[in-house]
């Protein structure tokens, strides 16, 4: 079992007139934890199902380790899937569920016993062999589904929102376990989710998708810090998008933008832009200063709402331009001197302010 390298070439899928997957091309190197992130209907699950073989592409190719798999039926592909609702066979117990794939391969009973034991140990479910799926909790069922797929030592493991049905605490615990497992076993994981936190936490690279297209493919830091399009900026975290008019670069390589009647310098994104555009800044980079402070990239505002999050405080601030932005202040134990209704000066540091194009077309910096 080599690599686990996947290549998707110009994949298209139409359901009647509806284009669910629109000309997607991807290259996933072996051993990578790759996530496809997007909201419902963006085509991520359809793409996954095409890789698994449950849907046939309308056009395009799927190549696994150099072999074109597009015409191969799902039971002959060397990939395995963990389904959203686990799909554990209800009439079989845990052992038979996990052994199912091995028995289809005509493994000897001794080998079957050994490998099932190993797989269950991997997911920490030794001793559960005789139980039926209905007698187990969601988290346990999910682990059985994992064991069932991993016992076959596939080149690639496909996961379709496997943590969706679990409560928040269990989800966080399993996220860590999944990541550790992937690094331990070393096979390629292709993970579909609509939860950005999940994607950011676990992935080596993320593909953000919308309307059947890929908006950006990059490691989590790059997706968050350097979103290529308006959609990506808005989808991950809070983007604080504001309309602006760009007027080219200044002498230190920053882009001059005008938000309303206020001048700003944006240190991120392409500097050589002019015309209508959008600027974005993450809420944790917004600085709040006392009313009347002067300086570069500062604008007066009024605190409209205070939301206590426990580990941080979220402040909704109305700017003098009429726009509303969110600021996130970490809970350091110090008191925040701005109440609801008080005037502040909002500082959007140039090093954190990013300029994007308005139309959602990816910029030259978008990677593949």
């Amino acid at each position: 079992m080599s690599g686990g390298e996947i290549e998707l070439i110009n994949l298209n899928k139409l359901f009647g007139p509806m284009r669910a997957v629109d000309n997607i091309s991807l290259h996933i190197p072996g051993g990578e934890f790759f996530s496809m992130l997007g909201s419902s209907g963006c085509g991520k699950t359809t793409t996954l199902r095409m890789i698994a073989g449950f849907e046939q592409p309308s056009s395009g190719h799927i190549v696994l380790d150099g072999v074109d798999m597009t015409e191969t039926p799902p039971h002959k592909r060397h990939v395995n899937t963990v389904f959203q609702n686990y799909a554990l066979f209800p009439h079989l117990n845990v052992f038979d569920n996990v052994a199912f794939g091995l028995r289809r391969q005509r493994e000897t009973p001794d080998n079957v016993n050994r490998r099932v034991g190993e797989a269950l140990e991997l997911v920490q479910l030794t001793g559960f062999e005789k139980r039926k799926p209905s007698q187990m909790s969601g988290g346990q069922q999910q682990r059985v589904a994992l064991a069932r797929a991993l016992v076959l030592k596939p080149a690639v493991l496909l996961l379709d929102e496997p943590l969706g049905a679990l409560d928040a605490r269990l989800r966080k615990q399993l996220q860590v376990e999944l990541k550790t497992l992937q690094q331990q076993v070393g096979i390629t994981f292709v993970y579909v989710t609509h939860d950005q936190e999940e994607a950011l936490t676990m992935s080596d690279r993320i593909a953000v998708m919308s309307n059947g297209r890929i908006e950006q493919v990059a490691p989590p830091e790059e997706i968050y810090e350097a979103p290529a399009t308006v959609f990506v900026a808005d989808f991950l975290g809070v983007s604080n998008l504001m309309d602006a008019v760009a007027s080219g670069a200044d002498n230190v390589g920053r882009c001059k933008v005008k938000v309303g009647s206020f001048e700003f310098y944006a240190g991120r994104g392409s500097a050589d832009i002019s015309g209508s555009t959008k600027v974005t800044i993450r809420p944790e980079r917004v600085r709040l200063e006392a009313k009347g402070t002067s300086g570069e990239n500062r604008i007066p505002g009024v605190v409209q709402r205070w939301v206590y999050l426990g580990n941080a405080v979220q402040l909704i601030i109305g700017l003098a331009t009429g726009a509303k932005i969110q600021a996130l202040v970490q809970n350091t134990g110090e008191e925040i001197p701005y109440d609801e209704g008080s005037d502040v000066t909002v500082h959007l540091p140039a090093t954190a302010l990013r300029v994007l194009t308005d139309t959602g077309v990816p910029l030259a910096s978008a990677a593949n």
Partner: protein
Amino acid sequence: MSAITERGAVPGHFAEPTLGTKLRRLIANPWGHPRGLVIITWLYVVISIVPVVVAIQFSFNAGRSVTAWQGFDLTKWYFGDPAYSVWADPRLQHAFWQSMKLAGLDMVIATPLGVMLAIGLARWRGALASASNFIMLFPLVTPELMMGVSLFLVFLYIFKFIQPGTTAQVLGHVTFSLSYVVVIVRGRLFSIGKSYEEAAADLGATPWESLRLVLLPLLLPAVFSSLMMVFAISIDDFVISQWLSCGSACDTVPIRVYSSTRGAPLPSVNALAALMVYMTLSAIGIAWLVMRFSNRGERKAEGARGGMVQTMGGFDM
């Protein structure tokens, strides 16, 4: 301080509930036991069962009348009377075995065919699929007399090599039982969904293995319900059995009961019919036990389908 009416709430003292209110609370209390509905349901059950109970009661009649109760005799008409009891009368026995034969063959032929048809129809997409779907439902909505007459004409003019008789009766029964099987199995297929088969294929099972190891075991409750349903329909059938009959040698129990009322009916006919009821009840009892036993491990799907009645009632047209 003013008194409170039923609708208004004014601080004061509470008015005594009227007779109308008390009656309403008794029968149609939205928070309590739905007594009104329960009463109606029990009335319906009683009205439906009373005729059957009376008929069975008369199978234990000491005398020869089917209308006048002449005392209780447990075994006279079952095997006591040397000439006219079910045990002694060859025509009654023959009718019983004919019904059993038809029902048995019907079960064995219609159920597998119906299951295959249901699975095929569920997978098939396209215009031809909806047409087949529609045609398959025809026997369910066609009046029995029309079915009987048309089958008779088919065997008379088209399939001339089959004479009216047991073979023709079996074929007739299978024809209209198929629809019932398909409807039952399809409902179950729908609730199973395609995820288990996809999982099986994903793990390397060929389509045949997936069918054999995953789908059919999960379909077993529906197959069982279908068997019971086909049995019940078959032994109950009158019109089609009669139209395809070869004479008294092909008489089924309903036909024999009907023809005996023309002459002087004896309680032995009641005994024969009662035997059919006992068989049906045992079949349902066995089905219930099997369902209870087999459904113990299965997780309740969304909608919590449980129990044989719900499964059998889960028709999907």
